[in-house]
Amino acid sequence: MTITIPPKSNKESEGLQPKGFLRYFSFSLDHKVIGIQYLVCGFLFYLVGGALASAIRIELTSPISDFMPRDVYNQVLTLHGTIMIFLWIVPVVNGAFGNYLIPFYVGARDMAFPRLNAVAFWLIPPAGLMLISSYFINGAAQSGWTAYPPLSITTPAAGQIIWILSVLLLGGSSIFGGINFIATILKLRRPGLKLMQLPMYCWAMLGTSILVVLSTPVLAGTLILLSFDIVAHTGFFNPTLGGNVIVYQHLFWFYSHPAVYIMVLPAFGLVSEILPIHSRKPLFGYTTMVYSIMAIVFLGLIVWAHHMFTSGTPPWMRLFFTIATSFIAVPTGIKFFNWVATLWGGKISLNSAILFSCGFIVNFVLGGITGVALAQVPFDIHVHDTYFVVAHFHYIVYGGSVFVIFSSIYHWYPKFTGRMLNEKIGRIHFILTFVGFNLCFAPQHWLGMNGMPRRVAEYDPQFTFVNQLSSFGALLMALSTLPFLWNVIHSSFKGEIAGENPWQALTPEWLTSSPPPVENWLGEAPLVTDPYGYGKKQLQEQFNDLESEKQ
């Protein structure tokens, strides 16, 4: 057994850190400050990505290309995808909540490498600004977030190179974060705390970080080769120089399929924290949850070619990847059944946090079902690269990860700020988002099956009405951010005072003041060996134990 004493603190550097609001603009080493920096920064980029999405949906209200020039459309689409993935979902579900929560969960006073942590965050704003500014320099990249050559080699080079540079920076940030999480979870655990006693989010972040560390370097290598092809006219992926375009796709998806789990596994972890607290029941099936996460990590590494079923893949490869992909549904399914079992028989408070979490369950189940269908080669051949796929992954990434981010904000905002969010406005936000989301993306399944390819600015006029319906849903989604923004800003001044533990939760971040002091707890870190010990009577005893331990 390894017992590590939690690090005391960075006393010397602390004096150099600005206090109050300004610390969020500083090179702070406090994991909580860094977590909030990730969250707010990610949200600002989300607003940019959302504006770009609105531009796409406006263009698609009519079957002809009339709202913006065609090449601008492709730039908008590329920026939208890249921003949403690399600047919003990945940094927020990993960086924001991971940094804020993981040290609490393992009973440490900070992350293992606080300086690396700050560096990882401060790579993001310049990378993001660089990416967006490429639009004003010479036009942004226009080959989609997948940047398939030879298109990415033949479109204007400046935008593509800036795109590569910023994705490399963001990938680097992600790797630094991953290393930090692995070290923190494995090495900084409070003495007496065993791995199988950790809150589920720790397991999710451990699995995710393994994926990050194994696969992101492959993306980096691939993009560096691609940049050689662009600036030095090498021929790795350039067919006119004897290169092979399919090799790029294998390398790209070797990262980018795991990347979809990098976006969703942490969300699975967050939901596993939120559901038990608000339904006053233990998390159902802890052990199977842990094994499912590890099974997903392993399978996630060997399914990448399901993105390439029409790329000229030989039959044996098509079959292998069909089977491997289909089987991911089994561990994923276990997690969903466990969550429903957690709700079952509980005393559920129908607040915004639980509504967004349940919205996530419903949306993700639909996305998972279409995913298994897409894994079947004969099915995929027809709908690959159509709006059906767009619908699938938005059900996963928006209906899944983004719903969980909102749920988590409703759940942890009291801890972050010491004040509660307004429940009524939260529910309006949920209803608008849920209705808008489904209205926007459900019809896209039909569009894809009936002949509308993805990434187009113009389409067959028979699809006009359904596209307008989808755009109307997008409008509702855009409007839904307004009550949310108002709520978050207004409540930070006027919200009800939350107190230490408004949800009566057992996990360690709630056993300290809101917001917590610099070193997380004034006294020693509490030892929580059963983070899900809810349930009749038992709760009160647990709570008393913890209280007496604190004294």
Binding site: Y73, P150, R280, S311, S326, V362, I369, Q376, T386
Partner: protein, 272 residues
């Protein structure tokens, strides 16, 4: 014993379930089926759709039911039951999805085989040589094995497809001419050899349920047999540049005589 009301409820729910399955099995969400591939595809789609709807409705109902039934009543400060696990239940919901997924996998393999996916691609192309030994030809699907009966199968019609920003060109090697529209006779197996001049494109005909990327530097093969006369869109499905959305063409499926007239009019060689 069961009460009559319970029996009625049971019967009603069973008939609702059966009726529901029948309805979703017969909803047609796909475009016209115009190739020998398409009915096979639609069969797969229906089966996946039924399984998917049952799973989704089940999960949705479970979540909504829990939220309503187990919501906290005002004044209730108690916790829920401290149930942490239930091994038989967990084994059950591991095994059932595993079996469903296994079934789906085997079934879709069968469908894929019936579409000709497992047949060596150069086999039925005795009309002309597809793969010289040094050339690797990958991907695509073969003819449907429904009509791979050698006696009945007509020799397949070879077409060479070239894709470029932002058009498809169809060369008929037998007549040595190039067309901007793909004309094919109904009921005849077409064997296309496709290559791109610049970036990656994809050849997609929704009514045929087939798609294959057209790749620079690496030819791909796509075989299909149209079964209905008509004009169907050919759509580029891989982002290929600013005019990608406008990169379309038409496949004209005609009765053999009409096709032959069209072919003779365009042909540059003397047809035997």
């Amino acid at each position: 014993m069961l009460k009559p009301s319970a029996i009625i409820t049971l019967l009603v729910s069973i008939s609702l379930a059966v009726g529901g399955v029948w309805i979703i099995y017969n909803i047609n969400l796909l475009p016209e089926a115009a190739s020998s591939n398409a009915p096979v595809y639609d069969e797969l789609f229906r089966v996946l759709f039924v399984i998917g709807v049952i799973l989704f409705v089940g999960m949705f109902a479970a979540v909504v039911y829990s939220l309503i039934e187990f919501r906290r009543r005002p004044g209730d400060q108690e916790d829920g039951l401290p149930v942490k696990e239930n091994l038989p239940l967990e084994i059950f919901w591991t095994a059932v999805p595993a079996i469903v997924v296994l079934f789906v996998g085997l079934y879709s393999y069968d469908i894929y085989d019936r579409m000709g996916g497992m047949q060596p691609l150069d086999h039925q192309n005795h009309g002309y040589s597809v793969s010289s030994s040094e050339e690797k030809v990958w991907g695509g699907i073969g003819t449907s094995s429904n009509n791979s009966n050698m006696d009945l199968q007509m020799q397949s019609l070879p077409v060479e497809v070239t894709a470029m920003q932002f058009a498809f060109l169809f060369r008929y090697p037998k007549g040595d001419f190039i067309s901007g529209e793909l004309h094919v006779p109904v009921g005849q197996t077409i064997s296309m050899r496709m290559e791109s001049n610049d970036v990656i494109h994809a050849f997609w005909v929704p009514e045929f349920r087939i798609k294959q990327d057209v790749i620079p530097g690496q030819p791909t093969i796509l075989n299909f047999t149209p079964t209905k006369p008509g004009r169907f869109p050919i759509i580029c499905a891989e982002l290929c540049g600013p005019y990608h959305g406008g990169m379309r063409s038409t496949v004209v499926v005609e009765e053999p005589e009409i096709y032959q007239d069209w072919f003779n009019k365009n042909s540059n060689t003397i047809v035997s």
